[in-house]
Subunit: 155 residues, 2 copies
Amino acid sequence: MKVLTKKTDYAIRALLMLGAKRGSYVSAKAIAVEQDMPYQFLRGVLQEMIRHDLIVSKEGVQGGFMLEKDPDEIGVKQLIEIFQGTVQVSECMFRKQICTNRSRCVLRHEIMRIEHVVNNEFEQVTIGKLLRKLQATNTLMPALNTVEGLASITQ
Amino acid sequence: MKVLTKKTDYAIRALLMLGAKRGSYVSAKAIAVEQDMPYQFLRGVLQEMIRHDLIVSKEGVQGGFMLEKDPDEIGVKQLIEIFQGTVQVSECMFRKQICTNRSRCVLRHEIMRIEHVVNNEFEQVTIGKLLRKLQATNTLMPALNTVEGLASITQ
DNA sequence: TATAACTGATACTATATTTATATCAATTAG
DNA sequence: CTAATTGATATAAATATAGTATCAGTTATA
Ligand code: FES
Ligand code: FES
């Protein structure tokens, strides 16, 4: 059971890179090469994030992507919703036809409780928090520039 | 994003039915018809549960399946693991090659924290608990015998 | 003892989702 | 002018989920 798909994964990592280099444009190619993601696939992910106003882009030479939104305002929950749809623990446990009044169904309650817990947890993990954790590990922040750098934050 | 697949869904509902009729054998056909599940698909699910010692079966006429294990010992978490594999929020955020020391990775920690929370929640929801909730709603327990009965517990 | 109602086992098909690639037009720094 | 870049979109490949079909073996019961 995989909770985060590649798209969400790539989105998080791309945002971390953009977050570490805020103020300058970073090209899709640079991100793809440095973090070993499929280039065109990543571009799709980046475009989706533009549509959701998480990042902005500049075309042409020296162009690329830049983080606009406050990293603390970007939760993993939002990313999951963008790339995987709303978190739903299960569709209705029984057939839709016979579940006329969901609000009083005991199973439904149990399921919705978990849904809330899961959503809460994911909401609390923001790009901002992750960035600060990265900075704490690696104060000078060259980490995300090279493969060696990336490796360093995982040790 | 769907957390419970059909197999897990069917497994839970089948176990609830078997739990409500503990002591007697219930055929796959009976379960399939009453809960509107695809017969052969359900059989596969039931066989998987036999392999994991959750239920037992009897072949031939008047045969079927019976709940063996204590319903309180069967958590939704275990069912998810059986039918969807272990809950993993994400595989390693970066490439495996460069993640030599996972235990000290900040991202890893965040991810594992959520993994624990999710697992805990799912572990606490047991077939036993669900059965008691059903009984509280419908003391005489004819609920699971008919479509109308099923409908009654959802109101 | 024949038969119909069952499970065991397994192979197969269909559908949906995820992941990845390819192409071409438009933009822009140098 | 040109190479590096994004925008947009179409398509393919890979994987996972969902569902079907078949046949052999078991057993209650008529
Ligand atoms: S299972 Fe559908 S509302 Fe309860
Ligand atoms: S991302 Fe792989 S161990 Fe941190």
